[in-house]
Symmetry: C2
Subunit: 193 residues, 2 copies
DNA sequence: TCTAAAAGTTACAGACCGGTAACACCCTAG
DNA sequence: CTAGGGTGTTACCGGTCTGTAACTTTTAGA
């Protein structure tokens, strides 16, 4: 009779994990703190003892998501130590796997779409995290020996971001279905010159 | 002393136009019907006499947006009659113009991100409209004499969709800044083979 | 075992939401 | 001039939202 999401961890961890999951699935404005705490097997007061507001919880969730993504990058290095080109291909492969398994795309991009207020506290965090990810991909492309590393990295970024949002509007059979082919031929053409 | 948004048109038209603008700027869940009717210089009862629900209003707004986009396509044909390749370049140019002028991206994609319920009435409309746009771009590529027209059209779609969402998370100086260069070299490479 | 912190419980405040009812008004078509 | 449809106004319903107060229970460490 386990709790599924909850298990027996500390309330703060359960709240954070549950909130990540629910924000991801239903959007930030689509889920209230009551629903989160109930799903996490706790209550609202406990949430507000650990997070000073819903916005702050959102930010913590985004940071946690980025940390998970970072762990995936560590896997690339572990599986293909030193071989940056193989890591780049692994990146494409992993991106397409996630596309086929999850139809809700990137939490940070989705949050940016939802939180339209220019001064929303989450916006600067989103920008920071996205910029860090961009730099990582640029570095990977450069270390893989590609000339115009920034341009390739940015193109791959836009393709992936587009695929993730396209899935949500037209579904998996839309343009996003060809993501791997696009990305691979793009890498090939950048390597050729 | 004009009303700005309102002028002296019929309440229904004012509501539709104002709602389009406000949904676009602040998101669907970010604006209430009260705010819309007030900005449109009318009241809630009048809105509900013309639209049976907020969801229905959202759908009408999406259709109106798609109709505006369709008028832009008519411009391409008017400016470059018969020259499909020139129209494709015009499409790239226009897309980048819109990117630099408006940072909130595509209403349909944004709505798909916000409205997470799988059976939301707006979702099927979004899918229909997006599929229609996809077919238009595929036809344009094919008529421009490009071999793998579907693949080029889908790649361009993902690039643009990605650019529009990337702008919202990292801003205009991010990867989306290179959209024109990416799109043009992509077209060139498809034409070359 | 005793204590203190963490967590649970209940109730509530105050705001906003989508949607409706009842009624008064105005403007135009006949 | 008059009838009637479109519009404006006010008030309200039931629900949901974030966030807080006050109090009780559980848990864990010395």
């Amino acid at each position: 009779m386990t709790d599924g999401v909850a298990e027996r961890s500390r309330p703060r961890d359960r709240i954070l994990e549950t909130a990540q999951d629910m924000f991801h699935k239903h959007g930030i404005k689509g889920v209230g703190v009551d629903a989160i705490t109930e799903a996490a097997g706790t209550n609202k007061m406990t949430l507000y003892r650990h997070f000073e507001s819903k916005d702050e919880l959102v930010i913590e969730c985004l940071r946690a998501t980025a940390a998970k993504a970072s762990r995936i990058w560590d896997e690339f290095e572990a599986r293909h130590p030193g071989d940056k080109l193989a890591q780049l291909h692994a990146w494409v492969q992993k991106a397409s796997e996630l596309l086929s398994v999850d139809s809700r795309g990137c939490d940070m991009a989705n949050a940016a779409v939802e939180l339209t207020e220019a001064d929303h506290p989450a916006r600067r965090v989103i920008k920071e995290l996205k910029e860090a990810q961009r730099e990582k991909l640029v570095a990977l492309c450069r270390d893989a020996g590609i000339g115009q590393a920034e341009l390739l990295a940015d193109t791959l970024s836009l393709l992936l971001e587009g695929a993730r949002v396209s899935m949500q509007s037209v579904g998996a059979e839309g343009p996003s279905a060809q993501f791997v082919r696009m990305a691979e031929s793009l890498i090939a053409s950048f390597r050729a010159r």
